[in-house]
């Protein structure tokens, strides 16, 4: 037992020291270079650790994946675009993509707006921590436990029987018949998306709140004293200042919406028209079809490109402002 704790302690103390030392040593070495050259070399030194990790864990596997998507199942013969043709002509895939679009719009949209709303509203009350904790609570709940919770929220029992599902019990007291939230095609996608929103809002709120706090109070005071209404202050000062953060949160949640897998998988098994693209990849992997699985990953990468372009524009704007 002691071994493990020693290793862990070593890592916790050692790594920051190591990195701090790394920066110090490299700075010394850089000092030996001509002044002009320093600013060109230093960035590479600083980003090197992060880039090295990203390279090993993300870039190399991604390249591997792209290559696999052009090969056959055994990974030996080049098959060109065959896998992509299959991907786009497979009715399951098209149906899943449509669902992902629903997720993109509603999950990302409502979570970002919800997070913003919570960050702003809770900022104004004394019991802020209590409120933030309530909205944050879904995050530490493991995926497994979350699926149990929501199975029970959405549970359907036949009309006339005792309703064990919270939602159906609630609408039952109002006199309505129970609804099979997860099975009925009109409600099921939204029921699943709401589970996502339930968790993601706390995530968005935490990040946006951190940025919100960094907006100088004086700035807002000045505007209010000038007679501007709360709404105007929000719209003309707060939101624009938060735009970079909203972009980050929006981008991250968009990526999550494309990757979403757990929620439909466990609650509806992807049936009744709720399947998403990531579960296609998962099933292929389980079947040993690395070629088809890789195709899904590559398509997702391509879909992401417009989003990254938006981010680049944002970065440029950020640099112009400051």
């Amino acid at each position: 037992m002691d071994d493990r704790i020693i290793t862990a302690l070593g890592a916790v103390i050692g790594v920051p020291l190591l990195l701090g030392g790394y920066l110090w040593v490299t700075e010394q070495l850089l000092a030996r270079l001509p002044r002009r050259v320093q600013p060109t070399v230093r960035p590479y030194v600083w980003v090197f650790p992060a880039v090295a990790f990203a390279f090993v864990f993300m870039v190399l596997p991604a390249i591997n994946t792209v290559i696999l998507s052009f090969l056959d199942r055994r990974g030996t013969t080049f098959v060109g675009l065959d896998n992509y043709v299959f991907f786009f002509t497979n009715p399951d895939t098209i149906a899943s993509l449509k669902n992902n679009i629903l997720w993109l719009v509603f999950f990302t949209g409502f979570s970002v707006i919800g997070g913003l709303l919570c960050a702003i509203l809770f900022d104004r009350i004394r019991y802020e921590t209590l409120a933030k904790t309530a909205v944050f609570l879904p995050l530490p709940i493991s995926a497994v436990a979350s699926s149990i919770i929501w199975k029970f929220m959405y549970q359907y029992d036949p009309p006339g029987a005792v309703q064990t599902g919270t939602l159906n019990a609630a609408i039952g007291t109002l006199g309505f018949d129970p609804v099979a939230w997860l099975i009925d095609s009109t409600t099921n996608n939204f029921a699943l998306i709401f589970v996502g929103i339930w968790t993601a809002t706390g995530f968005a709120m935490t990040i946006i709140s951190a940025s919100l706090k960094s907006i100088a109070a004086e700035l807002l005071e000045a505007a209010r004293v000038d007679g501007a209404s709360e709404l105007r202050v929000l719209w003309t000062i707060v939101v624009p200042l938060l735009l970079p953060t909203l972009t980050v949160v929006g981008t991250t949640l968009t990526i999550q919406a494309l990757r979403v897998f757990d929620i439909p998988y466990v609650l509806t098994s992807g049936a009744y028209g709720t399947d998403v693209i990531a579960s296609q990849m998962f099933t292929r992997l389980q079947n040993g079809q690395y070629d088809r699985a890789s195709t899904v990953a590559v398509v997702l990468l391509v879909v992401i490109i417009p989003l990254m372009l938006i981010n680049i524009r944002r970065f440029r704007q950020q640099e112009e402002i400051r």
């Binding site: 230093r42 650790p49 870039v59 596997p61 530490p140 149990i148 992401i304």
Partner: protein, 297 residues
Amino acid sequence: MTAATTTLSRPHSATFTGQASRRVRRLPLHLAIWVIMAIWLIPTIGLFVNSFRPIADMSSSGWWTALFPPSRLTIESYQTIMETEGVANSILNSLLIAIPATVIQVVIATIAGYAFAWMNFRGRDVFFLTIVGLMVVPIQATLVPVLKMFNAIGIAGTFLAVWLAHTGYGLPFQTYMLRNYIGGLPKAIFESAEIDGASHPMRFWQIAVPMSVPVIAANVIFVFLGVWNDLLVALTYMGSSPNRPMTVIVTQLVTSFGGGWQFLTAAAVVQMALPLAVFLFLQRYFVRGISAGAVKG
């Protein structure tokens, strides 16, 4: 901190007309907040209440019935969990995995975030966003290549493997967050420090880091959370190692048919206690005023 905290949380309105009027004005605000809190809390309260109910009750009646007599509340689920072999040990393992993984990630990401934000080099933004964009690739695509590499180095199955793996998977997002925040810090401060002769490392440690405390705190929360609740990375990179985190042990509580799921409610409550504590503890860093006043001059 006290000076900063007293300026926030109650926006003054220049159009006050008195305490009572202000209360009424704020009623919609409070109402909205309590509605939001209620919607968000109900599912979790359901979990919490269920974890104290006897197994047989959980599937036959809704959790709210336990709030009224006769509410047969019991701690048998908790007892069963704590008596399960290896649970206490696994909690320790979860800690030993989560804390170093968090520290490593956040430190590297902060350094890289600063560099991406304030240093110029060719192709910086494209380079950066490629790494961010790669987050969309499902993790399953990376498991085999990375495991092969760990195996080649000989660290497969150790804590180090899991720390490195979590760091690798988490860095893109961390760096993204930190780059965004640090990039938004006022340029003037850095410039005046540079004029005063501060080198990049100095500007980093003495200006950027202290000013980025809120976002670093947010990141610590998320990383810790993600690692604490992770199952796949631990299972893949630790294999049969006896140093299994709690998430792996929890799967042992249910049969392959899902029987015994009732214990999962109690397990979930136990499992969420620590990340929640981390969240509450770090709330103090979500304060306004650290960068306030820095823009002047």
